[in-house]
Symmetry: C2
Subunit: 224 residues, 2 copies
């Protein structure tokens, strides 16, 4: 009660960011290479090498020279705690403070390092302990349990079928605004009416309206 630490005991915000980046890269299969991590955090690859070794020293990651980096169980836990904080903050900002879903990522990116466990617990409770954030991403439980499901993307839906929008990345405000304008958000039903040849754009039906969406965009929307 009196000793609420921000997160893992004494990890810097930066180190936390690395853990999260590595976790997310591992998640999407792209085993976390130095360049991948660097790209994700928008820093130079040379900077990654050192931090990754530090994380290894702390027992949070394992890295073989010239091979990739993997999180240890401890590292995974720490990453999931951070992700939990991030997603609860996002949800809270949308539900209790009227933020648009396209803005909350940036805000959460900063707050996730400063919020105590108690604050997170209270925010979560205030919005009914949700299991998904506003972009459809699952929120890890306080003990690190999480339901990472593999979802197909809208780009892979067969012409004529219908799907439910489940999830999209939270990182790009412009993109989220675009999706919102199309009516594409978690829970929306989408029917693919047509697909142009040579990997061309899709014609889709969302909430009665017919829309065109490019392959790149469709590939970033996950459905079931």
């Amino acid at each position: 009660m009196s000793e609420q630490l921000p997160a893992s005991p004494a990890l810097t915000g930066q180190a936390e960011d690395y853990l999260k980046a590595i976790y997310e890269l591992e998640q999407r299969g792209t085993s976390a290479g130095t360049n991948d991590i660097a790209a994700r955090l928008r820093i130079a690859p040379a900077s990654v090498t050192g931090m990754v070794q530090r994380l290894a020293r702390l027992g949070l990651a394992e890295s073989e020279r010239y091979k990739g980096t993997r999180l240890t169980e401890a590292g995974r836990l720490a990453a999931l705690q951070l992700i939990r904080r991030h997603r609860i903050i996002e949800s809270y900002l949308v539900q209790r403070l009227g933020f648009g879903w396209e803005h909350v990522h940036e805000e959460a990116e900063r707050l996730e390092h400063a919020a105590s466990n108690e604050l997170i617990a209270r925010m979560a409770e205030s919005i009914g302990n949700p299991t998904e954030d506003p972009h459809g991403a699952p929120i890890p439980a306080a003990d690190g349990t999480i339901d990472e499901i593999h979802l197909e993307s809208l780009a892979d839906v067969a012409v004529g079928s219908e799907a439910t929008v489940m999830r999209m990345s939270d990182r790009d405000p412009e993109f989220l605004l675009y999706l919102d304008a199309l009516g594409i958000r978690p829970g929306a039903r989408v029917r693919v009416l047509a697909r142009e040849p040579f990997d061309g754009p899709l014609t889709i039906q969302v909430g009665g309206a017919s829309q065109i969406i490019g392959t790149n965009s469709a590939a970033r929307v996950f459905i079931r």
Copy 2:
């Protein structure tokens, strides 16, 4: 809307803390000496010298070698922005998330550096744009306007008179818990029934109950 910076453009959290410390020291008359700042921030005096020079280079403070440090108008503004964030966060945590008033200082100390102006504005609005925080401290307006009033302390109240509790420091959870147990919080009416000689403890009446409080404690409670 899209470019909400945390505070002053590109000040580190540490620099912000120095500004706040200097502001608060100036406020209580104690013109901000190197040792005063060091004590407030719990760092070595030697560390202060460098930062103070940096703040001077940034146009936020003026410091003469071996004399004290004063904020410039720009520094004062930046400090007030930070204080505004701090006090709004404290108020929000108490009113909307059920925190006890004794815990919010610590939490706000971290969040104040991470919260965007938009978040602060939304929090403030959610709780009706209060003008005082839970400890009775005035909340600066967004433009830096503030009502710093000099208040007398409970230790100075004449025996037999009654006063309204206005304010106390937010920094010491134990002390706040103690005050709370006595029924002393902003708005409470207190009557001084007796004062022991030689600067001795006061007997006070709060909400019907009669209590004893030491001079040190009474000196930290401000009334009108």
